[in-house]
Amino acid sequence: MMRDLATRFVAEQSKEVSEYFVDKDVKPIKEENVGQVSGNVLAISTEAPASLGLTAPPVVILPGPFKPRHRFKVLQQFEGTVLEISGDECRAHIRDLTRPGFVEEITFSIEEISESDRELAVLGAVFYWDIGYQDRIDGQRLRVSAIRFRRIPMWKEKDLVSSRREAESLSESLGWKR
């Protein structure tokens, strides 16, 4: 009985989820997956732990309250490389990740870059540009452009030392030296 109730509850929740999120990537939760679902449903247990030898009715942990979230539906993705920063303008090459094969050169205002990422925008820096729809919890749909710079570790002394060693051995074997 309790299992049925829990199953029905999850089914209702997943129906709600699938109705709310129209994004095709969101798969409805199937009944047979009860007990394995994650996300808004916290945990469900319909069996008493046998190892404890309990005979009491099974403990049911009801799912937590449904917490709707914003959803982002990606329409287009680019990978970019900064070629020049001049005044308030950034010049970059962008490679189409959605329809590979196209490389474009663009210029755009530095204002398009979030303040936290702006210091990363230097010659040679790599960024990702996503364009899509954000479906808000109040049902509104916004068209969104998001530029994020890739955070890459700094050069370390050991990088330079090991590359110098590699270069020496390579130069020797190739005759690439004066």
């Binding site: 329409l75 287009q76 490389t81 070629l83 020049e84 303008e89 010049r91 090459h93 329809r99 094969g101 196209f102 490389v103 474009e104 050169e105 663009i106 210029t107 755009f108 205002s109 398009e112 990363l120 230097v122 010659l123 040679g124 820096a125 790599v126 364009i131 729809y133 068209r143 452009s145 890739r150 890459i152 570790p153 700094m154 050069w155 370390k156 002394e157 990088d159 330079l160 590359s163 110098r164 590699e166 270069a167 020496e168 390579l170 130069s171 074997s173 190739l174 005759g175 690439w176 030296k177 004066r178």
Partner: protein, 377 residues
């Protein structure tokens, strides 16, 4: 002289020189028939559809065996737009001497390549390609002639290839005109300073720095035909560097070129009036590749006007103004328009200009053919 378009896959006769220049917007490659089925290749770019180096694709279409018939392969400089697919050419051309700028013959350049390409954190096409070249050079041992094992080093006024009349129906010579001694000295200092990153600076893509004084300009002689391949060599206020150094050299070939590959896509930075006046014939055939990147794509209208003061015969492998960006989902296009100020596609069709000249007895009228979007300017 009228340009036409014949069968692109028809090979030249044994006594016909050919200069084929390819350019897809960013990148260029030159394929030259030196007569009697001997070929040379200068730089490399990829066919965007097949991802095969255009030189190999073209030679195969002509029925040329690249493994045996390509005698010389020159990389004029390491920038992405001149090197894409170079390792595949090197791996295929077992009979070719590999030549690159003497300015790259230093531990710092090898370290630069090693540093950027082996850490696998980010794609650096030019650097990665050079790393693959190193790999091919290492693997060539055992299956190519010993004299081809080590790279050849291009420096001003060095003869890179020489066939006497006994070997060929006519003399064939290839000279490097640059880099000058001073350019090499400067480059050796700069490579360490500019290319090797400092500790605690962020990792990023290796972007080619300008100006380019160490690029390899070439002079090709096939019988009476002289060809000047200007590479991306630029000018410098110091006349020991760039084009002034080439013009002032006492050791360069003294003839005049009938065909010129205009340096650096016709840009004003690479324009040297003395070069046009002293090294090139009257009304030469000027061949250009566009460069669709940069603040202004090259050649600009001003560039074309300037070149046209020297010759009416100017041919370009593609549209000098770049190409229109592809259409996407309307919401995407709308957003892009709101965000960007300027936008253009940097790769277009692989334009191809082909000049063929019979070389058996003197020089006949050249036959100029334009393929795949190449145009007369």
């Amino acid at each position: 002289m009228r340009a036409s378009a014949g069968n692109v896959n028809c090979p030249p006769s044994r006594y016909e020189a050919e200069i084929s220049i390819f350019g897809p917007g960013i990148g260029e490659c030159i394929v030259i028939h030196l007569g009697k089925n001997a070929w040379m290749v200068v730089d490399s770019c990829l066919d965007r559809n097949t991802r095969i180096p255009i030189a190999l694709q073209y030679l195969q279409a002509l029925g040329v065996n690249a493994a045996t018939d390509v005698k010389l392969f020159v990389i004029t400089h390491w920038h992405d737009d001149h090197i894409e697919g170079a390792s595949a050419i090197l791996a295929s051309c077992h009979n070719a001497k590999f030549v690159c700028s003497d300015a790259l013959r230093c531990g710092e350049f090898v370290q630069f390549v090693s540093l950027y390409s082996q850490r696998g954190f980010i794609e650096n096409s030019g650097v990665d390609e050079f790393n693959r070249i190193f790999e091919v050079l290492k693997s060539r041992r055992g299956y190519i002639r010993p004299e081809l094992l080590e790279p050849g080093w291009a420096i001003a006024d060095r003869r890179l290839l020489y066939y006497t009349k006994n070997d060929r129906p006519l003399n064939v010579e290839v000279y490097s005109l640059s880099p000058s001694d001073a350019a090499i000295t400067l480059a050796l200092r700069e490579i360490g300073q500019l290319l090797i990153p400092k500790v605690k600076t962020p990792k990023r893509r290796a972007i080619a720095q300008r100006p380019n004084h160490v690029s390899v300009a070439l002079w090709v002689i096939v019988g009476d035909l002289h060809v000047l391949l200007g590479s991306d060599l630029e000018n410098h206020p110091d006349n020991r560097l760039g084009w002034q150094a080439v013009v002032l050299s006492r050791n360069r070939p003294r003839e005049r070129a009938l065909i010129i590959k205009v340096p650096h896509h016709g840009s004003s930075n690479a324009y040297c009036k003395e070069m046009w006046q002293e090294m090139v014939a009257t009304n030469p055939i000027a061949l250009l590749t566009p460069f669709a990147s940069g603040v202004k794509p090259l050649p600009t209208e001003t560039d074309i006007a300037r070149i046209s003061t020297h010759t009416p015969q100017i041919y370009c492998t593609g549209s000098p103004s770049g190409w229109r960006s592809p259409r996407r989902d309307s919401a995407v296009d709308k957003t892009i328009k709101e965000v960007v100020r300027t936008r253009r596609l940097v790769y277009g069709p692989m334009g191809h200009i082909r000049v063929r000249i019979p070389i058996k007895k003197g020089l006949d009228e050249p036959n100029i053919e334009l393929f795949n979007g190449a145009q007369s300017l």
